[in-house]
Amino acid sequence: MNEHDKPNSVEAQARRDFLKTGALVAGATLAPGVLFYGVAHSRAPEEAASSDKRFGLLIDTTKCGDGCNDCVSACNTENGLTGETGPQDSQWIRKVDIKDLRTGYVQSLPMMCQHCENPPCVDVCPTGASMKRADGIVLVDRHTCIGCRYCMMACPYKARSFVHEPLTDQNPEVPRGKGCVESCTFCVQRVDRDEQPACVEACNTQGHNAMIFGDLKDPESALNKALKAASSIEVRADLALNTGVRYQGI
């Protein structure tokens, strides 16, 4: 990285903005040494995830139908979960019903890993298996997870599950197995090929449009525009985790 590429230079900022808008141009040389690969593929396979992005999700609970389980089923199918909800079953996303006891107003919302900027699960992990990728996606590296479940205790959102029994016939893109902790990955395998997480895609194709996924660092993203247009909150904002998932309507 030479002097001109330093993020604090105005020129670099302008160039980044230009790169964002020009991301659909195939193979165009935009600046010395900067070349884009392929149409609509913002990251080449050999390129590492970058902290120029932070993935996030906005959920509008007012559009979230009572009893609707479309996001949950899509997650289960994509990631090879059984869909069972017993104490030993993996749940990466759950529908949670909340009721205002004074008014009786009931809402139903999906809850999953909030992809915290300051994730307690990562803080407590003794092996480094709990990790946050450069683009903000919080993952468990099963190769180093020893199944101690500290992270499950630390997570304020009850987002993580432990795999208790041996598994077979996993989705080749989503390896998972006994003895490791797991949670929502934002469907990292899909995000890495510029697709939306399975829950978001399902919610939108079913016409609910309750979820917007995108890059929190891109001011032009649909996500940021929606965040700017209406009030939204973090669940348990008092914990100052700066979650990547935000909610509207609760």
Partner: protein
């Protein structure tokens, strides 16, 4: 603890594979060698002898790159190994003792736990992955399941 044991086993495997290579020298002909099914493509991504000794290092390096950094090149990816080496008979690399990984590993008596988590059979691909590999594409049940009108 299990993970530490895994690396010890990997180290043991390296020795074991080196050993089986010695056994293949004509001077000790007559020793039964593992029968390894031929892969689908013309040749492997690396020289066969190199792969025998170093596949575990390549896989470990690639797994860290993919898992931690999101680098998704396909040359040394386990998924691609499985796509080429899945047995014609079982469709898997480790379902029976004749399958590619199992053949050598059971011969060398080296347990491997890749398959506790990773699929031993090639998966079906979504249309968006079409450009990425040379393997024949099929429509994905994963995509179909998230289409309208099915889950409600």
């Amino acid at each position: 603890m299990a993970r530490l044991a895994k690396w010890l086993r990997l180290a043991a495997l390296m020795f074991a594979v080196a050993f089986s290579a010695i056994a293949s020298i004509p001077a000790v002909a007559g020793v039964d060698l593992p029968k390894i099914e031929k892969g689908k493509g013309d040749k492997c991504v690396e020289d066969t002898q190199y792969m025998r000794r170093n596949h575990m290092d390549l896989l470990k390096h690639h797994r860290d790159d993919t898992m931690r950094k999101g680098i998704r090149t396909t040359k040394h990816s386990l998924k691609k190994c499985v796509e080429c080496h899945a047995s014609e008979k079982s469709g898997s690399v480790a379902a029976s003792k004749e399958d590619f990984c199992a053949a050598c590993h059971s011969y060398a008596s080296v347990k491997l736990d890749c398959w506790d988590c990773h699929a031993t059979k090639p998966g079906k691909k979504s249309p968006t992955q079409l450009g990425q590999g040379g393997v024949q594409m099929q429509s994905s049940p994963l995509i179909a399941a998230t289409q309208p009108g099915e889950s409600k």
